[in-house]
Symmetry: C2
Subunit: 485 residues, 2 copies
Amino acid sequence: MNPGPDPTMSQRLARSELTRDDVVVDLAGFRRELAAARAHTYTNAERVPLSELAEWHAQGGVIRHTSGKFFTVQGLEVRVPTGAVPQWTQPIINQPEVGILGILVKEFDGVLHCLMQLKAEPGNVNGIQLSPTVQATRSNYMRVHGGNPTPYLGYFRDRTRHRVVLDVRQSEQGAWFLRKRNRNMIIEVTEPVEVVDGYHWLTLAQLGELLAVDDLVNMDTRSVLSCVPFAGTVPADLAADHDEDGHTLVASWAGGGPSRHSTTDVLSWITERRTATDIELRQVPLHEMPGWRYEDTGISHVSERFFDVIGVRVDARGREVGQWDQPMFAARGTGLVAFLMTRFDGVPHVLVHARVEPGFTDVVELAPTVQCIPDTYRRMPREDWPPFLEEVLWADPDAIRFDTVQSEEGGRFYRTRSRHVIVETDDLPSHPDFRWLTPHQLTSLLPHSNYVNVQGRSMLTCLRALATTGLAAAARPAPPTERAA
Amino acid sequence: MNPGPDPTMSQRLARSELTRDDVVVDLAGFRRELAAARAHTYTNAERVPLSELAEWHAQGGVIRHTSGKFFTVQGLEVRVPTGAVPQWTQPIINQPEVGILGILVKEFDGVLHCLMQLKAEPGNVNGIQLSPTVQATRSNYMRVHGGNPTPYLGYFRDRTRHRVVLDVRQSEQGAWFLRKRNRNMIIEVTEPVEVVDGYHWLTLAQLGELLAVDDLVNMDTRSVLSCVPFAGTVPADLAADHDEDGHTLVASWAGGGPSRHSTTDVLSWITERRTATDIELRQVPLHEMPGWRYEDTGISHVSERFFDVIGVRVDARGREVGQWDQPMFAARGTGLVAFLMTRFDGVPHVLVHARVEPGFTDVVELAPTVQCIPDTYRRMPREDWPPFLEEVLWADPDAIRFDTVQSEEGGRFYRTRSRHVIVETDDLPSHPDFRWLTPHQLTSLLPHSNYVNVQGRSMLTCLRALATTGLAAAARPAPPTERAA
């Protein structure tokens, strides 16, 4: 059994990925709708002391909702004896419920379109971002906090009449969530679908183009799109439309191309990293975490680095109306996720990190070359920096193939963003925790859980957009530490 | 990236799977060696009270080794609100170390051979069974209990000079082990290998033939063999040697053949079962488990069903010499694992169960159609039996294609065995927790962790042996409850 779907479906997805014109909604029209929506739909998030969060309380060193639902914030002691930092303590979100991130697709004029939602989340820097058709925790869709039923949820819960294109549980941020997984789904319908206000049919090519806009395509959308299986071959009538660089990438995805390491060796490397790494987790009370200050204004590290746990009061206006309080995580400074990319025999490869995060279900997942908050290292000696951070921060602007700021999920993360960068290089550094993989190799692991972390998936979606749309955002020569200020 | 290895390797494995004659060691010679080994190598396991186990002690309701290594036996409370039994308590083995189960392969006269070990384990009913080249926990190979270095371990720890054929962590019994995984490996060497006394080079075909012998090919060997990737096509000069039934099975494995459910639908079904099932685990002291008696002679269920935790004093003679004490699990009665098999459009399919076991890392794994200890249900009403138990116990003898008793791993399980049965049927029952999959579909999931449980893998190896050797053990009409007495 090959993990990809049947060739017909992957050909149809490839067609959507390469079709941006003559479609249901043109991008100019979509941008007008987006501007209009931003005028009348928003969530206002006002910071409030943790002790004043309605329906949330701290008990036994854990912050919980009175219903027992949604999520808790707890303290975690992590021991990784073989790691660069062998032991630390941190707050973490425990949300055992598996939510649904689902995109509904339907064919119009022979091209698959995705039903995307303009959705306001309290943590978003810009109010509205482009979300999957359904983005719901189980507490959401079981309507624990009242509210309206989730539109289109039925298509994802009763799949008997529809076609499943994708259905896999993927991890979320392993540094901030304890073993959280969401169900990434794509369901194809052939029956008529009523388009609710705030929803739009877009092709994969259009979504790819929108990925070059800062903070527009939300994290959940990027995660689901990364799992879209790619065609064995690109439809012949479309392949010629792309420039040489884009073409090479498309070819790499499509046929796989010769890869630096065999499949078997890549899987063996992952097994080796998982086996060689001991990780021990122990829950500790939030007010007993060495190095952290638990104050009413928030929980912060004494070094003023990493992230804060804060309280917010949310006031939502627009399609969803309501007011609620909740804790959120707020990163200190803009993150950086980056792939170093090179070509072996003309086939693009990205440098992938076998990364350990405390919240992973199976010790290690594949991550971008660099994944960090550069501010953390601003005052630290160069030898303590993560591998390859320097290569990305000081990359020749001409070598930067993609550079866009993307947001983390705005339901849990407050104005938390990461610069997404792809740097092409001829340097071929060697490091036991890193391997050069083709995008095709990464994508082929995504029908399975626990292989590629959410930052890796997000970057893969950007890389794919780069390949299929030939977009390259303007290079930004300044190091991100200045932009993060 | 396809999860299988390169076609050359899978062709070479297929050749080994179909070559039983003109090989390094003939089976008659091997059987003589086995008989001779049984005369001078054994481990004698004498039952002793739990309180008298040297270097083991119970503390806080957990049985531990004084070194803190090896494993612990602890109490576990399991809640599965949606399960047939929504809540229970049981002892379970906690062995967080990932061991190595490794088979060394080498080509002789164009045919790959596996270096197999005649190994005595204290729990074996018959002293010696056929083990992988290396079968070692980390405590073993780090020599926590002293002892000799593990032969051939170096090939599996430093793989740079050798070829990795397989390297994947697979689960062990989820009912008896808490999240235990072992690293299943196959490494090919081309350099000369000195054959230590007690080791033998056998082809995959020979191993397949030996699977029809009760209690000979041990659990670890069966697990590793199940992960052997199968060829896209069978070597042309060999395919014609097999009878029509065997042929069909080989063809199914080889080419995949049309399957009842698509890959995508099978993965979606697994995702659905994992998402729909809430499972909560809580550690409890061994002496506070409702329904269990903790006595010096062992820990037993008041119903005298399921299994016992016992103490044994081991006296090993032969290649490995030594004496040690340890706790073991001893099942009450012989287990039954069975596949119902049918053909859709001539392609064999087996009925697979999406099974929940407390020790699984990811909630659900695919298991045989039936997996139970039939004695457990002897006095229970038919409606409380596991699905399809009846179909297997009362199968028409002519429909039984395979029927052999195989042992559980003799390092932890005391004389614990399971009848392995394949029943061909024309009935096509439908049940939401079961699906018809081709052997090819199952095998193709095995480069990845958490998909097929150890009983499923063991059965898959038997099914494969049936396909490739055309062996069919004599049908046994008596229900296994009588044989288990």
